[in-house]
Structures are given as structure tokens and as C-alpha cells.
């Protein structure tokens, strides 16, 4: 079974856009609707990379990243977070929590693909 890119976002439209873009480029994808769902799916499935929003209900992205990084299955899995502004504080927190890379919304599909390719390989 091929490993999936896990897309965690409470916004259905972004989730779908990211998933479609990734699956269009040949990545297997998996979706989660918030940090808690993301954590459950990230630890239960073979994951190749994670793309996560930061601002989410129930468990936000930073907490999710922190929790996932504390789980052994996160070793070597790149985590890309999505943020709305180039909010340095958010970025710092996410990086401290163990994120690998980031994208600033709005982004174009090829930008997303470039970043995924950069951190997770083609």
C-alpha cells in the first residue's frame, strides 16, 4: 500500500483543493477535518507527509503537530503547515512544534506541488 499525504483542514474547500491537486499529481491522499481527526488518522495509517492548517476547532494545528511528533510513527514524516499570513509568531510556534515546511495562503496549485515535491519527493 502506498503511503498517503494526509491533508488536515477544517475548511472543506481547501481540503478538497489540496487533495485534488495532490492526487492529480499522483500522490495518494487522506483527509482529516481537524487536529484530533488528523492525529487519529496520522497514527493509524502509513503517512508520507502531512499538510495541515493551523487554525482549527477541537485541536488546532500546532497542538496536532506537537502531538503527532510525540508519536513514534511521525519520525521522518515531513509536516507542511498552512497559514494565512506570514505571521512570524505562528510560524515559530509551528516550527517549534516540529513542522517541516509551510505555505502561506493563498497559494497556487503548482506552488503547493513544488513544496510537496521539495519536502516529500516527487
Amino acid at each position: 500500500m502506498s503511503k498517503s499525504v494526509l491533508v488536515v483542514d477544517d475548511s472543506a474547500s481547501i481540503r478538497q483543493m489540496v487533495s485534488l491537486t495532490l492526487s492529480g499529481a499522483g500522490y495518494a491522499t487522506l483527509e482529516a477535518i481537524d487536529g484530533e481527526d488528523g492525529y487519529a488518522k496520522a497514527t493509524a495509517n502509513p503517512i508520507r507527509a502531512v499538510v495541515t492548517d493551523l487554525n482549527m476547532p477541537r485541536m488546532n494545528g500546532i497542538e496536532f503537530i506537537r502531538k503527532f511528533r510525540a508519536h513514534p510513527s511521525s519520525t521522518g514524516v515531513p509536516i507542511i503547515f498552512l497559514t494565512t499570513e506570514s505571521d512570524e509568531d505562528m510560524k515559530r510556534q509551528a516550527k517549534e512544534a516540529g513542522a517541516t515546511a509551510w505555505m502561506v495562503k493563498p497559494f497556487k496549485q503548482d506552488q503547493l506541488l513544488a513544496v510537496i515535491k521539495k519536502v516529500a519527493g516527487p
Binding site: D10, S11, A12, S13, I14, Q16, M17, L20, A32, I33, D34, E36, D37, Y39, A40, T43, A49, D53, N55, M56, P57, I65, R66, K67, R69, A70, H71, S74, T75, G76, V77, P78, I79, L82, T84, E85, S86, K95, E96, A97, G98, A99, T100, A101, W102, V104, K105, P106, F107, K108, D110, Q111, L112, L113, A114, V115, K118, V119, A120, G121
Partner: protein, 669 residues
């Protein structure tokens, strides 16, 4: 399953988020220091902004950004939530909805709202405008290495990853590949830092790389390769010809490894809200319902064949099919059911605005939000309910001074509730206002010529007058109600949903409006009857009882068109006359007593065949104005039966009867 266009998904999502925002704002109106509500409002805003920008709704993203900036002081707790703040935030929410619905038309209105908001949140209007929303392009450079050509240059790139970089997902192979894409590379690796075998941590990268790359791309392109892992790594980039030395990147803060010791929580039981649900386009559900309807019809035909056959196996299969088809039908209908709470939520805003505009204090109480109704029914209920709630607040509830004078609390109450009763859902709107003014209604009705000046009418019948088109007792026309359009439309809509509306009122005790609606529109239990050669289906929920037509009435002499049902006179209609059936009158005719609201009427038929699953098919446009029938269904043997429009027949029967009575009185006089 077809995939929805992300922009459509955004529209839908934005609607939901705006609802959430509105709800949070309205809740803040009553509990102004609830941080969770502020956060919830903020999160909704933030998501709208993010998604809006993604899908090209720049106006939305821009406005929300400004709004968020202004609202930030509320989030930080330095400005308290106040009613004017809630008011302007609600206006902003409406503005966002307009920006999404009709891009390019309303951008200018936003500034007024923002000005108001800023005036409220900042005593010292210093900055005025925040740095405007501009998509930062941090990843733009990372993602689209600019194709700027520079003179060919050779660089020496030395790097060593941060200790935890591998754990955090960095991959040196990918880095090297990226450098190779810039131009021909010579890669060498130093192993000096690799510790003795026994102290090697398999998750730490001990290698130092040195890459000599020749490229016509600018220095920035090389920096961009390391953009995400620059923290805590050692990196030097220098031209081989010159010496553009690069110290380890400024940011010394080594990325700390997460030390969260929380036990991974088992989240399987975490009732993921929506986590296990699937969004399906509404038309697909309608399609599914259609297919199931057809399946039910086919199954009925099969059952009929099985009954007529001696084949035991066929009978078994037919029974099995019947069981499956009926459970499939129930499941499918269940899918279409949505809790009515989603609809109730919308009215909180309406009540809030009305109470503000009319200066009446209103407590809006809802109950039975979990009551489920067919999706289509719920959608079509929205307008009638808006109208009824408006009426309650505008006409029903008195102004506070008058309420106090009448010995009531200054705050009025409007209660909206839903409850299951059998195969129906009853929705009631109850206010504790002044009640309907019977004298005014009578005066109006007389003036409009709806009733004779000396007619004796029970209050209940008098109240029915308000359902006449153009009937309004409001003394003055407000922007909200009193235009005389409405109650008749409400009634028509409810009847269109095969529902009924009842009005009750006590002087100064308030008004109760009750809507009774069928659970679903698609499949009903019907009673199949025969009139002449034709077969007709009567919705079973409307059937009260069946009786034999007394022999003296059988002949068809229209002298007497009443039945005495346990002491009550019930008028009846001979369907064979109504449908102009030419076959001979059969003996032992039956009367099916049907009711709509409080009225009853008997329908004389030749034969009562029995119950049948009636899958409702609407009549074609060509037959839209056919009275007496609300639709058609296909019977087990493949023939078509028309479905009787009970509400229409009942009112027709009542009218017919009163006309006959008037004629008789006229003759007698």
C-alpha cells in the same frame, strides 16, 4: 461520486461558517465574556479569509482581514463585547455574505462598517487602517524558483543538517536533487562528525556535505533550496571565485524537539462531528429517492404476481423483496431527514434584529431542535416561519409599557417548538402577546365582504379569515408586516407541503400557530379506492374512518348530503359525480371520512381496496391547474392512480354544502 467544484464547496462552507459566526455573535450578545465564543467567531472569520483568498474572493479576504484586525482587541480582551459591537459585527457578517454572493458589487459598503467597528473598539483611533491584506510570498519564491538568468557562476555550498532534521522530515537526498536541478554538481561528504558506532543515534544525521554547483541562477535560488530547514542548520554558500561568506543563518534557535508527553488519546470514540459524514449533492438524494420509489412499485407488482401464483419459491422471494424494499425505503427516507434545529438557528438573528428595530424586548425560546423532517420540507418551511415569527413580534407582542400595564413581564416571549406526532411533525409558534383581536378581524372581514354582518361565527372560524388574500388587520403598514400579503401565502405553502395550519388565540394571552407537516413528501401510505373504473389513492394520514353509505342516501338524490357521524353532521361528496363517472351506480357504496385541519368531509367511493405504498409523482406542468388531485402514483400492476388532494376536497365539500344549504334556505323563504 462526482467531485464538487471547490468553489462550490467554498460557497457552502462559507454559508456554514457565517451561520456559526452569527450564532457565536448572538450568543455573545447574552454572555458577553465567553472567551470560547470569541474564539469561535474568530476561527470562523479566519477560515473564511483563508479559503476566500484561495478561491479568488479577494474582496472577501480583504474585508475579513480588516475586520479581524479591528476585532483583534476584542479577542485580546482589551475591549469588552457590547450590544453595539455585536450589532456592527452582525452587519459585517451580512456584508461578507453579500460579497460572496455577488462579488464586485458591494465592496464600497465595507468601509462604513469598518469605520463603525473601529470607532467602537478603539478609543484612540491611532492606526486607523492596518497593513492591508496582501498575500505574502514566502513560498512563492520557494515554489517557483524565479527563472531569472544570471551569469554562470560556481558556488561552494557546505551544509550540515540540524540534529533533529531527519526526525522532522528533512531529506538530504531531496536537497541534493534540488541542487542538481540548478546545474551540474560535485557532491562530497565528510564523515568526521560520525561518532563511534555504539553511540550512534540512528535518527541523527552526522554528515557534512560540500556541493560545488555551477549555475546561471541567482544566489537566491540556492537559498531557497534550504528555506524550510535553515533553522538550526549550518550552511555556508560562497562563490568559488570570490568570497561571499555566509555564517550560520541568523536564527540560532535550534528547533526544539517536541516533548509533549501526553498519552496518545484514543480518538476513535471522539464522535467526530461530521468526521464520518459525507457531503452529497441534494439532487443525488432526490434521484436515489426516485429509484427507491420505482423499486417499491416494481416490488409491489412482484408481490401481486406472487399472490396470484402457486409457486412457493416465487412467494418466498417476493416476501423477501418486500421486506428489503421497505427497509431500503425507510433508510433512504432517513438519509433525507435533517434536524429542524438548522432552521431554527436562522431565526435567532431575525428575532434579534426585529427586537432591535421595534424596540421590543423578546426572549426567543426554541425546543425540539432534534426533530427530523424531510430536507425539502425544511427548506420550504423557512419563509412561512419567518413570516409567522415576524407577525408574532410585530403584531402579537406589545411594547414594553403596554405589557407592564397589562401585568405582564416587560420582555415578551416567542417560543418555537417542534415535536413528532405520529407520521407528522407539529411546529408551533407561540407568543405571549395580545392575542388576535376578534373584533377587529370581524370588522375587517365584514368590510371586505367575507362574512355577512350578522353572521354568527365561532372565534375559530373567524380566525380563518386571516388566511384570505389581502387580509390584514395591522393598523399601520410597517416595513415588516401589515401589507396584507402573507398569511394566505403561508397557508398555501404549508398546504403545498401537504400540511395544515391552525390558529389559536386567547385575548391578551397570546397567539399559537401550529403547523402540521408530513414527515416526508416522497412516499406516503395511501388508501386505494375505486370510483367507477378508476382507482385513486387517498393519503392515509388524512383518513379518519370508512363507513357504509346509508341506503336512503345511496340513490343519489342530492336531497341530503350529510352523514351523521356519532352526532356530528359531516357533508359528503359523491366522487362519481365529481369525476363524471358514467358507470352504473353500484350497491353498497362506501364513504371515506377525511379531514384537513378541523374540517371533515366524506368521500363516496364504489369500493375501498386497501392500503398501498404510494410513491408520489408530481403531475406534469400541463396538468398543474387540475384541481382535486395532488399527484399520481403507479400501482403494483403498472397502472396509474391519481392521488386525491384532500385539503382541496375538504374545502370544496364544505363550500358545496354551505351553498346547498343557502339554496335550500333561499327556497324555503
Amino acid at each position: 461520486m462526482t467531485v464538487m467544484d471547490p468553489r462550490d464547496v467554498f460557497h457552502q462552507e462559507a454559508r456554514e461558517l457565517l451561520d456559526q459566526l452569527e450564532e457565536a455573535l448572538l450568543d455573545l450578545g447574552t454572555s458577553s465574556d465567553d472567551r470560547d465564543l470569541v474564539d469561535c467567531a474568530f476561527r470562523a472569520l479566519h477560515t473564511i479569509k483563508g479559503s476566500g483568498a484561495m478561491f479568488g474572493f479577494d474582496e472577501v479576504a480583504g474585508f475579513v482581514h480588516e475586520f479581524e484586525t479591528a476585532f483583534d482587541r476584542v479577542r485580546k480582551g482589551s475591549v469588552a463585547v457590547s450590544p453595539p459591537l455585536v450589532q456592527v459585527a452582525l452587519a459585517a457578517k451580512d456584508h461578507i455574505a453579500r460579497l460572496i454572493a455577488e462579488p464586485g458589487l458591494h465592496a464600497a459598503d465595507g468601509e462604513t462598517i469598518l469605520k463603525k467597528l473601529r470607532a467602537i473598539v478603539s478609543s484612540d483611533e491611532d492606526s486607523g487602517r492596518s497593513d492591508s491584506f496582501a498575500p505574502a510570498d514566502a513560498q512563492a519564491s520557494a515554489a517557483e524558483p524565479s527563472r531569472v538568468q544570471s551569469p554562470l557562476q560556481t558556488w561552494r555550498v557546505k551544509f550540515r543538517l540540524a540534529e533533529n532534521a531527519l526526525v522532522l522530515g528533512a531529506n538530504p537526498v531531496l536537497l541534493l536533487n534540488e541542487l542538481r536541478e540548478l546545474g551540474p554538481c560535485e557532491v562530497s561528504v565528510a564523515v568526521d562528525a560520525v561518532p563511534p558506532l555504539e553511540s550512534i543515534d540512528s535518527e541523527v544525521c552526522y554528515l557534512d556535505w560540500e556541493v560545488v554547483v555551477s549555475t546561471d541562477r541567482p544566489r537566491q535560488a540556492i537559498d531557497d533550496v534550504f528555506i524550510f530547514i535553515a533553522d538550526g542548520m549550518e550552511l555556508s554558500i560562497e562563490t568559488l571565485a570570490g568570497t561571499v561568506a555566509e555564517s550560520p543563518r541568523d536564527d540560532k534557535a535550534a528547533t526544539t524537539k517536541a516533548v509533549d508527553v501526553d498519552k496518545p488519546r484514543d480518538s476513535t470514540g471522539a464522535g467526530a462531528k461530521g468526521g464520518t459524514s459525507v457531503r452529497v449533492a441534494a439532487e443525488r438524494l432526490d434521484e436515489l429517492m426516485d429509484r427507491v420509489g420505482e423499486l417499491v412499485i416494481a416490488q409491489a407488482r412482484l408481490s401481486q404476481l406472487a399472490v396470484a401464483s402457486d409457486d412457493g419459491n416465487l412467494k418466498n422471494v417476493a416476501e423477501e423483496m418486500e421486506r428489503l424494499a421497505s427497509s431500503l425505503r425507510d433508510t433512504t427516507m432517513g438519509i433525507r431527514m435533517v434536524p429542524i434545529g438548522s432552521l431554527f438557528g436562522r431565526f435567532r438573528r431575525l428575532v434579534h434584529d426585529l427586537s432591535h428595530d421595534l424596540d421590543k424586548e423578546v426572549d426567543f425560546v426554541t425546543a425540539g431542535e432534534d426533530t427530523e423532517l424531510d430536507k425539502t420540507v425544511i427548506e420550504r418551511l423557512a419563509d412561512p416561519l419567518v413570516h409567522l415569527i415576524r407577525n408574532s413580534i410585530d403584531h402579537g407582542l406589545e411594547v414594553p409599557s403596554r405589557r407592564i400595564a397589562a401585568g405582564k413581564a416587560a420582555r415578551g416571549q416567542v417560543r418555537l417548538s417542534a415535536v413528532h406526532t405520529g407520521s407528522e411533525v407539529a411546529i408551533s409558534i407561540v407568543d405571549d402577546g395580545a392575542g388576535l383581536d376578534a373584533d377587529r378581524i370581524r370588522a375587517k372581514a365584514e368590510e371586505a365582504g367575507l362574512i355577512a354582518p350578522d353572521a354568527k361565527l365561532a372565534d375559530h372560524d373567524l380566525f380563518q379569515m386571516v388566511f384570505h388574500p389581502g387580509f390584514s388587520t395591522a393598523k399601520e403598514i410597517t416595513a415588516l408586516s401589515g401589507r396584507g400579503v402573507g398569511m394566505d401565502v403561508v397557508k398555501r405553502t404549508i398546504e403545498g407541503l401537504r400540511g395544515r395550519i391552525d390558529l389559536g388565540s386567547r385575548p391578551s394571552g397570546g397567539t399559537t400557530v401550529t403547523l402540521r407537516l408530513p414527515l416526508t413528501l416522497a412516499i406516503i401510505e395511501g388508501m386505494l379506492v375505486r370510483v367507477g373504473q378508476g382507482r385513486y389513492s387517498i393519503p392515509l394520514s388524512a383518513v379518519e374512518e370508512c363507513v357504509e353509505l346509508p341506503r336512503d342516501a345511496e340513490a343519489g338524490n342530492s336531497g341530503r348530503n350529510f352523514l351523521n357521524i356519532r352526532g356530528h353532521l359531516v357533508p359528503f361528496l359523491r366522487l362519481r359525480e365529481l369525476f363524471k363517472t358514467r358507470t352504473a351506480i353500484e350497491p353498497h357504496q362506501k364513504v371515506v371520512i377525511v379531514s384537513a385541519g378541523e374540517s371533515r368531509v366524506g368521500l363516496v367511493v364504489d369500493q375501498v381496496i386497501g392500503n398501498s405504498q404510494t410513491v408520489i409523482k408530481s403531475l406534469s406542468k400541463l396538468h398543474a391547474d387540475v384541481e382535486n388531485f395532488s399527484g399520481a402514483t403507479i400501482l403494483g400492476d403498472g397502472t396509474v392512480a391519481l392521488i386525491l388532494d384532500v385539503a382541496h376536497l375538504v374545502s370544496f365539500g364544505q363550500e358545496f354544502e354551505s351553498r346547498l344549504r343557502d339554496e335550500r334556505i333561499g327556497r324555503a323563504a
